[in-house]
Symmetry: C2
Subunit: 433 residues, 2 copies
């Protein structure tokens, strides 16, 4: 679609980025320093930095929203304004900068050096985090965005009107190809829609990719032949560029529909190279995300992060889940998931929405709150114990999840719905809140 | 060299990683949770997690060093042990874990998911930072490490017995190819050994790579023809995988000797693909590094980080400089630089040492302290204002740096050496401490 629309860089096209900052500098000065460092400026004004050059290429401070004073610096190492006297007032603020697209062109790796480069280490800041980015549509002339996303994933699995019920192969490492295939058979027979490798298992010498994949997919092909239902299996192809392309082709040849990639392990250009090559859905795993997102004072919000990867071409991404076993709060989980379902570009351009993946400590319990908070069924709902530890077995575990989501959609409290649905009742007994 | 040595995974080969942690859990429990999450374990013990499987594949807690109690959690979101009663004692510690290489094989992207994956978000931790990694030599069967490093860079530039004196093209963005080439001519004539693009300038529409590179390298070729001296120009080829390879070839064809890549923009597999293709030195730019390194409570130390990139194949990497204009302390700068010069593997294996690049606010002033702290001349010493803002012009700026480093090596105080060296005297007057 985007191919028919003008996506050449226009003089007016700008990139925007919003940051949380913490500084003892006057806010306008601090924002000006960020803008300078990330465009035409340097610590020492150079002869070539003419007014004309600045007018055309300098980053612009679009907006500053003061958030109030802070007691102590969040991070060490920051400085005070030169010749500062008197008490130090340290403030937090949100700053929005913009750059002409002409500075770097529609290039994700070079965008990164601009919006998420040296500025994290600038002396005036005791905290600096990238909160959001807004990109011009020219990026769609270079990047393909998701190939399958929500609709394509539903078509590949034949699941409509409810979330895909997913699960993760465990133990994470140590299983042989045969053991992996046996577990996949058990999970398929239990009725799951989606199965993924753990991110720790890609091509370990004890479970080589080239042996695991044919065995797993033979199981799924047989199951599909007998039942007409084909669970999606996200095969972890994380590796070097050529390995990922070759492994993708092996999955495709064996009848698979999806590959999984650890985003932070492969980098944006790695993902872009895979996407250009890919005929299968790409399941994005964000392990290592904590480095970017966990501190309020440094890094990048998931809102900004996932936009980069959506443009690069992922179809699914992990967002944690409500009442998860990690450190993330529910509000953050829902904001992440909602963002995945929110278009990056307005029609007629491709919106690049993708499917959020809920996981970590999920069971029938969280379905109603998840549905209420998200307002959508377009997600993968991945459970481990929530399926395998169901007292009546994994098939009952899967049915309990179907029932929980139906109850959520119908607006019926789980306990009430459970009175007429055995598997859900078993789940509520087995998995207390 | 490594090709002739055994580098197949042996049963005994293990990966080690050392972490700083902060937790309210008993330290042994916390370490066990990290080890479990990053190997065979999950929140719920699964049937397949047999004792035999654990014995072979589970990560091992090698060492715990308690660092004392902390007053308040560094990061929010952490939890307390189940059924915890009584006062909370939160402690910091260093924990060393090890994994059998068999879990992931010698694969950098999959190593990353293991040593720097989900664990940053684990509930028991109010802080978790990867401090160091130790890899078995099997990684050398897959990764090439640096191609040029210190010796190769000296051969390409003909500079021996002192640091390479380098500089960065400024303004960062906005110059046309013609303006860039004119600045390169001026810098070459001033006598610099090394010139680099700014990380903000790769292939902006106003300064296309394909136009900039031939013009810059024509200048340097002419200069080399006349003088016999060829400054190294690090052309910023950061981009998609195919773009980087094509741009590398363009630089090589035009007579260049070096390409520059923004590490965090391209990812480890991107770098590995480039290294396999490369016939030129690879200058690693760490912009965005602040996300990983700036907080004491989350992320990755530069010690661990640079090992990954050295193995992937960079020849140089930025380490900031003494009394720099960013937030990093001098001790951290020196530790980083020293690590670049420290072998990752003992002989007869390739040590993968690389050349550290000092920059940010550097002038003749920091040479003696840098030499004293590092004890080596194997570095690139990059100055902007320290060259261009010299009162007698850039050639005097370069000479002042030669003089400062000679004074450092001879153990003569700068002020004393300046009494008989005009350019150094000018530098000390122009750049007060």
């Amino acid at each position: 679609m985007s191919d028919t629309l003008p996506t050449q860089p226009g003089a007016a096209s700008r990139i925007k980025a919003r940051y949380w900052i913490e500084t003892a500098f006057p806010l306008a000065d601090a924002a000006f320093i960020m803008a300078g460092e990330q465009s035409t400026g340097t610590f020492v004004r150079t002869p070539g930095e003419t007014d004309e050059l600045r007018a055309r290429y300098a980053a612009r401070v679009e907006k500053i929203v003061e958030l109030g004073a802070v007691d102590a610096p969040s991070l060490s190492g920051s400085g005070l304004p030169r010749k500062h006297t008197g008490p130090v007032i340290r403030r937090a603020a949100e700053v929005t900068l913009s750059w002409p697209l002409e500075n770097m062109g529609p290039s994700l790796p070079n965008l990164l050096a601009t919006v998420a480069g040296n500025l994290f280490e600038l002396k005036p800041f005791s905290g600096l985090k990238l909160l959001d980015i807004e990109l011009p549509t020219e990026f769609l002339s270079v990047y393909q965005g998701p190939q399958f996303a929500v609709e394509g994933t539903r078509q590949l699995t034949g699941v409509y009107g409810r979330p895909l019920i997913g699960t993760i192969l465990k133990p994470s490492v140590g299983m042989s190809p045969e053991q992996t295939a046996a577990q996949v058979r058990m999970l398929a027979e239990a009725g799951v829609d989606f199965i993924k490798d753990d991110e720790l298992q890609a091509d370990g010498p004890h479970c080589p990719f080239d042996q695991r994949i044919p065995q797993v997919l033979r199981v799924l092909n047989e199951y599909a032949d007998h039942t007409g239902k084909r669970p999606m299996y996200a095969a972890n192809i994380t590796g070097e560029i050529d390995q990922m392309q070759r492994r993708h082709d092996l999955v495709a040849a064996a009848g698979g529909t999806c590959v999984m990639v650890s985003l932070n392990s492969v980098g944006l250009p790695g993902m872009v190279a895979l996407r250009r090559h890919a005929s299968l859905a790409i399941h994005g795993h964000r392990n290592g995300w904590g480095i970017f997102g966990r501190s309020h004072a440094i890094g990048m919000s998931f809102i900004a992060y996932q936009k980069l990867w959506r443009l690069a071409g992922i179809d699914h991404v992990h967002v944690n889940g409500l009442r998860n076993k990690f450190c993330e709060e529910d509000a953050s989980v829902i904001a992440s998931a909602r963002e995945c379902l929110t278009p990056m570009f307005a029609p007629p351009y491709k919106g690049c929405t993708i499917m959020p993946v809920f996981s970590s400590g999920q069971s029938a319990r969280q379905a109603p709150d998840t549905y209420k908070a998200l307002g959508s069924l377009d997600l993968i709902y991945a459970c481990g114990g929530g399926i395998l530890a169901h007292p009546a077995g994994p098939a009952a575990g899967v049915r309990s999840l179907h029932q929980a989501w139906q109850a959520a959609v119908d607006g019926i409290p789980l306990a009430q719905y459970a009175s007429t649905h055995t598997e859900l009742r078993g789940a509520l007994e087995a998995f207390p809140d």
